[in-house]
Subunit: 412 residues, 2 copies
């Protein structure tokens, strides 16, 4: 029973997003809600109550992923799945992840209100630790679910205090059962803010996401020699920070040599980190992304050569490890077509776009049909307390998500 | 009663240094004995016992500076003072500071053994928090004693956990009395390792220290815009770390433009410091030293202009504060002459040298006649667990210290 004019309730969707914005709220209006912390537990408890109130069957799997199941007309069909994540970066924004989960909840509320039952069962999901801000790498919940990351690996990852993922999961009482994992689905869709400036700059309502850039993470250790800042002549120094700084600017400049390449050094630590001591060791991470895997691999190769050469120039040693190497992902064509058609029919402006960040939809697409819808981020700002998206734009994204869902319900 | 052949006991001096090397010992044979920690308390307790065993009167002042007083023939004369500090850097060496205190103790032991009484009273001293590794800036004990730093300022300085100097001093039971401060002295002398490579490279036994380089500490805050590493196009970025890295290499290169200038960035912190987040803020400190104050001020001026220009180039903001600005110090000529004559008479090779690091003798020289003696540091390595000085060289330095002390005892 599809309706051409069926739209979600903007007011109710806002109330869900606003409720989330209160849990882990920072002074500057952002969120500090790292995965598996007491703040995460609080938003999970709130979300679980919402699922129960919406009449959904709640399931929690052994990675802490939370599901709300709604029956369909045909119980033998695999479910249609909507969702994202409710954890945030340290001092992150209140929309990243949240609008994907809350719009899914809102869609259930709308369907309940309109007494619409889909052919397929529906599932809405909150994935664990998408951000990777407490337990790196990111997307552990969806990575575990889809078998892209091993359970032993995930359980043993430690945060900076030495607490393992498993311990943290148990502590907040969200370690569920392996049998409750989502194992099969017809389509998975994730609504998300773009976290980049393209849609906002061009004043486009909807991003029809074609895929996700490939990504490499490298860890780099630069070793020089710790010494006193006062007496050591400049020419005798083996300053790990001077060497690492030269590397950071070179990594940045490399992006200018490969069209479409993005390089970032986001994390860097200096040892011993004392004002009058020449740094003996610097450790940092490099994040390298490109839509084209070959270009990315070429860039990584050139980068490693340059870092070795800089290390030599400054009489330091460098060790480079690849800690993560994910190829680019292309999303399901049925989903791309449905999203495009829905935006067209609802008269929202749209464009095809590639995602820069990784998302849970990336791992999900390795195990089944998956896709994404983007709404604009004001000035492209994300992973920042100033992250913002107009509520009208979020509601339009949720409308397109709902309409696409109903279209896909008829396909398989 | 001066003797031309009077020498200290190398074996006993080693036993004092070895005892110190056991308290706060690291796996790699260095010391982790930050000021006013339980480790510092333990070495203080050991030192206090040594003072008592040597028959000295123990006094502790309100900065936690520890004194051992030995009577002279003429009680109306101001004392001759020897000493240094027993705190260390995090993972520092076992000689920095320690040999100055322990050689003073050994000199007392030698004088006791030989039943020599000087004209002047003798005082040996352990200054509080010379390193500044826990409570910055360094040299708080000597700075407070000489009135170069205000007591309120010192008491309110917090460590990284927010504990104040005063709280930490009380906690280890070393908050003494203002009346017990050393207020007047004939000469203050500090034996120290060079912490630079000059003496070791040139195989010279004794450094006759002429003075201490002037030093500026600047704190720098670079502000860009936190954003997600994946989608943000390179040309839209305001990456605080790329900007700061360019500054660090420029600060290093600036030293090549002013002969004798030393510049160091030893401490640098990135915020939010997450691998997939473009850094929004970087804070770092610059340490700038020169024997010539005018040259140092010129360099600071040029540096500030360059940092502003780099900040602009990378679309970031920079704020620079001078947190410390100390002019160069020239030591007392009587001391310089006595040290030189003593080394000559004892047939040890010697050279005049300027100190790169600051030392307690720096503040002491603002309030009274002060000077220093250096012994070589192997490969110039210091503030490092690998810091090393041959025991023969330390003993020679202590011999010169003793001989100089006896010479100075006859001057005033």
């Amino acid at each position: 029973m599809e309706s051409a004019v069926l739209k979600i309730s903007r007011q109710r969707l806002n109330s869900y997003i606003e409720a989330s914005a209160q849990i882990g709220k920072t002074e500057n209006g952002g969120l500090y809600r790292l995965a598996l912390t007491p703040q995460d537990q609080k938003i999970r408890d709130y979300f679980k109550n919402c699922l129960i109130e919406a009449g959904l069957e709640v399931k929690i799997d052994d990675f802490g992923n939370m599901y709300g199941w709604r029956q369909g007309e045909n119980a033998s069909l695999p479910p249609l799945v909507l969702g994202s994540h409710l954890d945030t970066q340290a001092n992150g924004g209140k929309f990243d992840g949240v609008i994907g989960v809350m719009s899914a909840l809102e869609i259930i509320s709308t369907l309940n209100e309109q007494q619409i039952t889909t052919e397929h069962p529906l599932v809405i999901v909150n994935f664990t630790n998408e951000e990777g801000a407490r337990f790196a790498p990111p997307m552990l919940g969806s990575g575990g679910l889809t078998g892209e990351l091993a359970k032993d690996f995930i359980y043993s990852i430690k945060d900076e205090e030495g607490v393992t993922f498993e311990e943290a999961l148990e502590k907040i009482n969200y370690k569920g059962n392996k049998e409750d994992r989502l194992t099969d689905w017809a389509y998975f869709m994730e609504l998300h803010i773009e976290q980049g400036p393209t849609l906002d700059k061009e004043k486009i309502d909807i991003g029809v996401v074609e895929g996700i850039q490939g990504m490499s993470w490298l860890s780099v250790k630069v070793e020089g020699c710790t010494n006193h800042a006062g007496p050591t002549p400049m020419e005798d120094r083996q300053d790990a920070l001077v060497s690492a700084s030269k590397m950071v600017t070179n990594i940045y400049e490399l992006a200018g040599e490969f069209s479409g390449l993005k390089t970032t050094v986001g994390k860097l630590n200096v040892f011993p980190n004392s004002p009058n001591v020449i740094p003996g060791v610097v450790e940092f991470n490099i994040d390298i992304r490109h839509e084209n895997d070959h270009q990315r691999h070429m860039a990584c190769k050139v980068l490693k050569e340059r870092l070795s050469s800089i290390a030599f120039q400054y009489d330091t040693e460098v060790t480079i490890h690849t800690i993560w190497d994910n190829d680019a992902v292309l999303f399901d064509q049925d989903i791309i077509n449905s999203v495009e058609a829905s935006a067209e029919e609802m008269d929202y402006s749209y464009t095809k776009i590639f995602s820069g960040p990784g998302h849970d939809a990336k791992y999900m697409s390795a195990a089944g049909n998956s896709g994404m819808i983007f709404v604009p981020s004001t000035n492209g700002i994300s992973h920042n307390e100033q992250e913002f998206t107009d509520e009208k734009l979020i509601a339009q994204g949720a409308d397109v998500l709902l309409k696409s869902l109903l279209k896909l319900d008829k396909i398989i």
